[in-house]
């Protein structure tokens, strides 16, 4: 393999440098070709401004670590991001905040005569519940009169998915998984409804922009290679301002999806629900405080926020875009910075994709496999809804975590009955004894509690068998 050991597989495009891992710590190498830009970033006051405003990840220069290649000028040790998420795992509001962050960074950079040379959504991560730019090498000294080179990338990575999720369908953000360099604008223009053209900012940045792209592509051989043209400073600010209006003008879809209404329509009585919260809290207290938590099927993240107390990173996964969006908005409002809501379908989790199939990692390969797994009101959806037997489920949970808090929902439960109403009951093995037997092949049961009079059971298990 030509990629050196420890070098991040997704970090190969920018000649200015790359990231690599050594002894579990992430470092960023700055190459000599980027020296002038890096020095300007640091000496102009731009870095200080961005870092103090929480817009750019802070870093320290280090001499203790040997560079990853001979092109190196400096090695940086950035503040570590505990979990790298990808834009196709974000809900509308997460991408919305990431877009506004990118524009604010660019606006600040222009004041210091620098500019973002790229505007990919992959350069933004959520740290402590807030979006932050992680690519310190994204800045370059501005070349007067030149158009913004990252303009197209911004439109494809942010504007297109935001417009599609807000105006067409909340699930369309997943298109970004198919198009890793952003959703093509001609595709976006085709998918957007007619009324999108009535918004001047979308009309220009998506529709006319797409037309220009198509026009230029057809005539690429006739357009001179030397490009320049002139975009004044005021025009640059004008385009930026228009992009911001465009982003601000978009709202998440008001349509209530099934899951975001789940708690409101829940068949749990208030007492039973409080009982469930009390038991889960008790179980969480017995799980390692320094290990992250996977909350699978987290809905709007009620239990995720409970799990995150005590500084525990909690990945709050759900496959419903509206539920994830609500989760993010509530989490943000409550300042629960350790919760990271993610749009992930357990039946189709983010795979390892991109160049060589390794550029963007599978969601399960981005964290150590010793987390605490929270699987509340989930088992019946996987076992009965998706025909996954207990053995497969036990192995799956074992792969993720060292501890497991799992809720067993019996067949007599109204939710399960509803799921079986129009189907043959082919689930003869769906009962507690079989559940226990299969899970005890992978885990040791530490505790069991019944949730009020619901018939539902909560188990605390630890990986491994005695």
């Amino acid at each position: 393999m030509s990629v050196p050991e420890g070098r991040d597989y997704g970090s190969f495009r920018d000649p200015a440098g790359h990231v690599f891992k050594r002894d579990g710590t992430l470092f960023r190498q700055v190459n000599s070709v980027y020296k002038a830009h890096y020095e300007r970033l640091m000496s102009s006051g731009l870095y200080d401004r961005l870092a103090s405003d929480g817009l750019l990840i802070p870093h320290a220069e280090t001499d203790d670590v040997e560079a990853d290649s001979d092109k190196s000028f400096k090695v940086l040790r950035p503040k570590q991001v505990p979990f790298i998420s990808y834009p196709y795992e974000w809900s509308f509001s997460q991408l919305h905040d990431a877009a506004l962050l990118t524009l604010r960074v660019q606006e600040t950079a222009l004041r210091f005569d620098m500019s973002l040379k790229d505007a990919t959504a992959f350069n933004v991560q959520f740290l402590g519940g807030k979006p932050v730019l992680i690519d310190t090498l994204s800045f370059e000294i501005v070349r007067p009169g030149e158009p913004w080179p990252a303009y197209r990338q911004f439109c494809r990575h942010f504007l297109a998915p935001l417009a599609l999720t807000s105006m067409v369908n909340a699930g369309l953000g997943r298109l970004a998984r198919l198009h890793l360099d952003g959703i093509p604008l001609d595709l976006t223009a085709r998918l957007l409804p007619l009324r999108a053209r009535l918004r001047p900012s979308l009309l220009s940045h998506i529709f006319l922009h797409a037309r220009f792209e198509t026009w230029a592509e057809k005539r690429s051989s006739r357009i001179p290679r030397e490009k320049g043209g002139s975009v004044s400073e005021r025009a640059r600010l004008g385009i930026l301002d228009s992009l911001r209006s465009s982003v601000r003008g978009m709202q998440s879809t008001p349509i209530r999806t099934v899951w975001s209404e789940y708690y409101r329509n829940s068949r749990y009585s208030a007492e039973a629900f409080h009982e469930k919260q009390r038991i889960v809290r008790e179980f969480l207290d017995q799980c390692p405080a320094d290990k992250p938590v996977w909350d699978l099927g987290a809905n709007i993240g009620l239990f995720s926020r409970m799990a995150s107390q005590g500084n525990r990173l909690t990945l709050s996964l759900d496959s419903d875009p509206e539920a994830v969006d609500q989760n993010y908005r509530i989490t943000k409002a409550e300042g629960a910075g350790n919760v990271l809501p993610l749009l992930v379908d357990l039946l189709n989790p983010s795979p390892s994709i991109g160049w060589n199939g390794r550029e963007r990692k599978s969601i399960f390969d981005r964290i150590r496999p010793d987390a605490t797994v929270l699987a509340l009101a989930l088992i019946h959806h996987l076992a009965i809804g998706q025909n996954l037997d207990f053995q497969k489920l036990a192995k799956f949970f074992r792969r993720l975590g060292g501890h497991l808090i799992v809720e067993f929902v019996p067949k007599e439960d109204s939710q399960v009955r509803r799921m079986l109403r129009f189907r043959d009951d082919i689930f003869k093995d769906y009962h507690e004894d079989h559940f226990r037997r299969e899970f005890e092949r992978e885990f040791t049961i530490l505790k069991k509690r019944s949730v009020g009079d619901t018939g539902r059971l909560l188990y605390l298990m630890q990986a491994g068998i005695p």
Binding site: R13, D14, P15, A16, L100, K117, D118, E140, R143, G145, E146, P147, W148, P149, A150, Y151, R152, Q153, C155, S204, L208, H209, F212, E213, T214, W215, A216, E217, S220, I223, P224, R225, E226, K227, G228, G229, S230, V231, S232, R234, A235, L237, G238, I239, D241, S242
Partner: protein, 110 residues
């Protein structure tokens, strides 16, 4: 759309002359075609001159030819709109309370 076909009656509105009718038609058609070609040539040349300035793109990502040209095309409009907006905000701020101004500042920070 641009190359409108010559109508059956010449521009002066007189009925077509029996002799030389086809020559007149061809003449008008040729003239219009040449005019269109000239306009197209001049505009393409202008775009080419505008583009072929001393600078070349240095971006490590492909900024996209269309995206580049689009920004150049909308630059003046964006600058004008931005100028109007800035002045409009200034005018509006004269009539606004300090509380509203503070709120606006906070919003712009988000």
């Amino acid at each position: 759309m641009w190359m409108r076909k010559p109508t059956e009656t010449p521009d002066d509105g007189n009925p077509p002359k029996a002799s030389g009718q086809s020559i007149d038609h061809r003449d008008i058609e040729m003239k219009s075609r040449y005019r269109w070609r000239r306009i197209r040539f001049i505009s393409l040349a202008l775009v080419a001159v505008a583009l072929a300035s001393e600078r070349s793109a240095h971006a490590y990502i492909d900024p996209g030819t269309g995206s580049y040209l689009f920004q150049i095309a909308v630059a003046s409009l964006a600058a004008a709109a931005f100028t109007i907006k800035v002045y409009w905000r200034r005018i509006r701020s004269i009539f606004r309370s300090s509380k509203e101004k503070r709120k606006e500042r906070e919003e712009s920070k988000q």
